[in-house]
């Protein structure tokens, strides 16, 4: 599988603080990738490095086989919508489109105007008076009309109301269907990712905790509950991601590619949210107490 974004021991330091350190990951082509993680995990820094707004302090990053922002051609291949969808408050919607046309040789004016029309935006309205959702849509339109191969979206829907969020994701998905563009979108709203993404990367403190096709991840994780027992007694093929115990009962989230045959377990499928929370929780405990004894919850 070709990678659209490949980072190796990537690090970025501001003064003495590392915003991202020793990050190694690979994002496959042709996917809609959800990049999730708690605040401060380095998501924004990673995306800014990917689009070349930042330069790495250490390590390396390759995007579509090139160095980010290494010349106009490379810049043209990557579309970016920054957090809070910055636009020029004093310029009208129409002028933003002209700005996009002037600044991008690959600009598709038809796509741009078609989108604006479909969204019902008034071309003569100033961006400063647009709603958050409309501004996000305008920023997305600017990013897709330059016909990129890769779209990087930094928390595109975090600040939007549910309806605007839905509309934004509809637009995004239509673009994916039409243009076949690869997408990486960071978010901490797992519900949005469940429908739109087909690939998930959980990033906690610069480290990839989990990465893979969402379908495969959901199929290979199970929630087991049953009489209390030591997780150490599980088959070697079952990796315990999360465990909790009461005096009598044990609940586990395990990863395995095999069927779970033990009849004492009640097995339930996991949701994407369960999965993300479990991996984020595991990463937070700096020394994971996996298989090291029972943690008793009352």
């Amino acid at each position: 599988m070709t990678a659209v974004l490949e980072a190796s021991s990537l690090g970025k330091r501001y003064g003495r603080r590392w915003a991202l350190s020793d990050c190694t990951l690979s994002i496959p082509e042709g996917k809609v990738v959800g990049l999730v993680g708690p605040n401060g995990a380095g998501k924004t820094t990673l995306l800014h490095l990917g689009v070349g707004l930042l330069a790495p302090t250490s390590g390396s990053i390759e995007v579509l086989g090139g160095r980010p922002a290494d010349g106009p051609a490379q810049l043209g291949r990557v579309g970016f919508v920054a957090q809070d969808a910055p636009t020029y408050a004093g310029l009208t919607v129409d002028k933003h489109l002209r700005l996009g046309a002037y600044l991008n040789p690959s600009w598709d004016d038809q796509v741009a105007h078609h989108r604006i029309e479909e969204l019902g935006l008034d071309p003569s309205q100033r961006a400063g008076s647009l709603s958050g959702g409309q501004r996000a849509q305008l920023a997305l339109t600017l990013a897709i009309a330059k016909r990129p191969e890769l779209l990087l979206l930094d928390e595109p829907v975090a600040s939007l109301d549910p309806l605007a969020r839905r509309e934004f994701l509809q637009t995004l998905m239509e673009v994916v269907a039409e243009q076949g563009v690869s997408v990486v979108l960071s978010s901490h709203l797992v519900a949005d990712l469940e429908r739109t993404c087909d690939y998930l990367i959980v990033l906690v403190a610069s480290r990839v905790q989990l990465s893979g096709e969402i379908g495969g991840l959901l199929a290979s994780h199970h929630r087991l509950s049953g009489p209390r027992r030591d997780p150490g007694s599980l088959p070697a093929t079952q990796e315990v991601i999360e465990e909790s115990h009461t005096e009598r009962q044990t609940t586990l989230l395990v990863r395995t590619d095999d069927a779970i045959l033990d009849p004492t377990w009640t097995v339930k499928p996991v949701t994407l949210e369960d999965l993300v929370l479990a991996y984020m929780g595991r990463a937070r405990d700096t020394q994971p107490p996996r298989r090291s004894g029972l943690k008793v919850l009352r």
């Binding site: 970016f80 910055p86 690959s106 330059k146």
Partner: protein, 359 residues
């Protein structure tokens, strides 16, 4: 990229053009009248022998406009630096739109170069046109005043250099500070400081000044006798009449170049102190060759002073250092080159910083 910069910059261009037009209209209305008055009353005053009356009444014309234009000429570069320079990059960094601008298919170095170029050239054009109009309007007045160097900063080509410098300074402050209002404040402080330092320490010496010796004479090279704040009384050097020259220093020195001291004066002319009451607070001041003592001047003071000047003048002379009228244009060019050079260096700094430190 140039078109996009123009598009974003259009509102400011309109305002600037409007401002220039207003100035142009006002000057076009009042200017020819000034020329007419000059031709009618001043140019032939020598023949009528009433030049001092003619010139002083001529200089009273449009007085408020004269002051206003001169002030505007001084502050215009500052306005350009504040309104066009400082926000140029700072506003993008402050509002986050740099994340939009720098992710289009234009490298940020080019983005900055074009922005600096387009808005910078606009600054030069505005300052240049304004200076052209002001210089034309003031030409009869400047001809009468005969002090071209007092308005050196407000006429001709140096204005272009100041505008370029102020613009680049503002842009650089914006790039470093990343916030518009603090960048504006920093631009103002830096601009005023640098211009003052330049005026006192650099500008006078951009071209080596002329030095000339004059023999001492009361009323011209010696303006009087006196002392202040308890200092011992001595002879004051006078300012020789050099039309359109910029006099940098006047000093009374002997052949070896030593300055005249109060003790030398008192040794040579001991009766001066007696006649004029001696040094100290409330000591008489002598200006323009006349004794201006507290209370009525003692009779014969002028003769005593005259004698003293002759005696001192045997070994001492006045050394005047100045920029003659012929240095006006070389100095304009030198000053312009200096400021354009610094502006280019600042633009380079901006580019380097944006490329390497804002990433």
């Amino acid at each position: 990229m140039i078109r996009s910069t123009w598009m974003q910059f259009r509102a400011q261009t309109v305002v600037a053009t409007g401002g220039l037009l207003v100035v142009a209209v006002v000057l076009a209305i009042t200017g020819p009248h000034l020329v007419h008055l000059y031709d009618a009353n001043v140019s032939n005053c020598v023949a009528r022998d009433d030049c001092s009356t003619a010139t002083s009444s001529f200089l009273q014309n449009d007085h408020a406009l004269q002051v206003g234009l001169n002030v505007l000429a001084v502050v215009l570069p500052g306005i350009i630096g504040i309104l066009w320079g400082a926000p140029l990059v700072a506003r993008e960094l402050e509002t986050g739109t740099y994340r939009l601008a720098w992710t289009q298919s234009v490298t940020r170095t080019r983005w900055l170069a074009v922005k600096l170029g387009v808005v910078g050239v606009a600054s030069l054009v505005v300052a240049g046109l304004f200076s052209l109009m002001v210089t034309w309007w003031f030409s009869p007045i400047d001809r009468v005043n005969m002090t071209v160097f007092t308005t050196f900063d407000q006429r001709n080509i140096v204005a272009v250099g100041y505008a370029a410098f102020a613009f680049a300074l503002g842009a650089t402050a914006g790039v470093f500070i990343r916030r518009t209002v603090p960048a504006i404040a920093a631009t103002l402080v830096a601009l005023v400081t640098i211009r003052l330092l330049d005026f006192f320490y650099v500008q006078p010496h951009l071209i080596t000044p002329v030095r000339h010796s004059y023999s001492l004479a009361l009323g011209t090279t010696i303006s009087g006798y006196g002392g202040s704040n308890g200092a011992q009384a001595s002879l004051f050097p006078g300012t020789p009449s050099l039309p359109n020259a910029w006099i940098l220093s006047t000093d009374i020195v002997d052949k070896a170049g030593h300055s005249l001291t109060a003790s030398v004066v008192n040794d040579l002319c001991p009766q001066l102190a007696t006649v004029l009451g001696g040094p100290g607070p409330g000591a008489p001041q002598i200006q323009g060759g006349h004794v201006a003592a507290i209370g009525p001047a003692p009779a014969g003071a002028n003769q005593v002073l005259q004698a003293c000047v002759s005696k001192v003048g045997a070994t001492y002379h006045e050394l005047v250092s100045y920029q003659p009228p012929g240095h006006y244009w070389p100095l304009q060019w030198a000053e312009l080159a200096l400021y354009l050079g610094v502006a280019l260096a600042l633009a380079g700094t901006c580019a380097w910083w944006v490329r390497h430190r804002l990433s």
